[in-house]
């Protein structure tokens, strides 16, 4: 797999699994899960400093050489997202941003109008923008044309574990995109991640499916292998679906009985 890197904004990643850090019950459990996942790029959120807090997710990432990808989770408007991205750049020394602009708490679905607005501003400001978007091929194309470094359509709502509700849309997005397509949100289990890759996605981003699993580290390893499996299957060229059967044992040469 070493010769099949994911290239994002010119950077090469051997792992096609991008992890989020949210939802883990503790930093030690998170750490074991991150290591088991093999991820090289991991999201963090930006929040107000809390004087009581000790230990930082950044230390964990740093200890394992995992690149940090700040997000704008929790932002409802382009203005909030832009400021959050700028703070993240200042705090973390990276101009990469996972751009999230959500519309409501119930679904956490992205707001396409605010998202496009924010993406435009951030690209103008020199950011490498990785936008979390719905699965609409039209919005994905708009984001790509603005100059986003990837498009990251959802499979289903964040944390829902409903998998890829509309593979047809993901397929249309993959088909049209010149930038990497990262399936972001909704993954529930390993076969969902494999399916995303088989549809031609270049990577998978997930958090809850691992961090909230009964055994996060074990699920992280499952996801690592599932993403590899799906990628290999995509490259290997699956057999066509057939309505009827096709024997794999030879028809000729069977013994005659009776």
């Amino acid at each position: 797999m070493a010769d099949d890197p994911l290239v994002l904004a010119g950077e090469r990643f051997h792992s096609r699994l991008i992890m989020g850090t949210g939802g883990a019950p503790g930093l030690d459990i998170l750490e074991r899960a991150l290591v088991a996942s093999g991820t090289e790029l991991t999201t963090v959120a930006m929040r107000r400093v809390d004087p009581r807090m000790h230990g930082s997710v950044l230390d964990v990432l740093s200890a394992h050489g995992i690149r940090v990808l700040p997000n704008t989770a929790g932002c409802y408007t382009a203005a909030e997202a832009v400021l959050t991205a700028q703070l993240a750049r200042e705090a973390l020394g990276t101009n990469w941003i996972k751009l999230e602009v959500i519309a409501d708490e119930r679904t956490l679905l992205p707001d396409p109008l605010e998202l496009v607005d924010a993406a435009e501003q951030l690209i103008d400001d020199g950011f490498v923008v990785l936008p979390y978007t719905n699965d609409d091929p039209v919005v994905a194309r708009r984001l790509e044309r603005l100059g986003c470094a990837a498009v990251m359509p959802l499979g289903s709502p964040i944390g829902s574990g409903l998998g890829i509700r509309n593979p047809h849309n993901i397929d249309l997005i993959v088909e049209q995109s010149q930038v990497p397509v990262i399936l972001d949100a909704g993954i529930g289990t390993a076969s969902d991640a494999a399916l995303a890759m088989e549809l031609g996605c270049d990577g998978v981003l997930l958090a809850s499916a691992v961090t909230r699993a009964r055994e996060p580290a074990r699920m992280a390893e499952a996801m690592r292998r599932a993403v590899q499996a799906g990628r290999l299957a995509h490259l290997a060229g699956r057999i066509p679906r057939r309505w009827y059967a096709q024997a794999s044992s030879p028809r000729d040469g069977r013994a005659t009985v009776g």
Partner: protein, 71 residues
């Protein structure tokens, strides 16, 4: 008078700070982390290099953020 307190909002909480206080002072009071922190005043990022010189004014809204688990 030189050090009359000014009323600011820090991370959503009202707070009195000395007129001579800088962003650097404020950050030091809020966190012991030497890095990974960013500050915005009134919706504008204040780069770390300007923290020692940047004073606070009455009604300034200060946001001091860091990275946490998320996403």
């Amino acid at each position: 008078m030189a050090d009359d307190p000014v009323s600011v909002t820090v991370n959503g909480e009202p707070r009195q700070v000395a007129m001579s206080a800088t962003i650097a002072d404020l950050v030091a009071a809020m966190s012991t982390a030497g890095s990974g922190i960013a500050v915005a005043v009134n919706d504008e990022v204040v780069p770390r290099g300007r923290w020692p010189s940047r004073r606070l004014h009455d009604r300034d809204r200060v946001e001091i953020l860091t990275a946490v688990q998320g996403g």
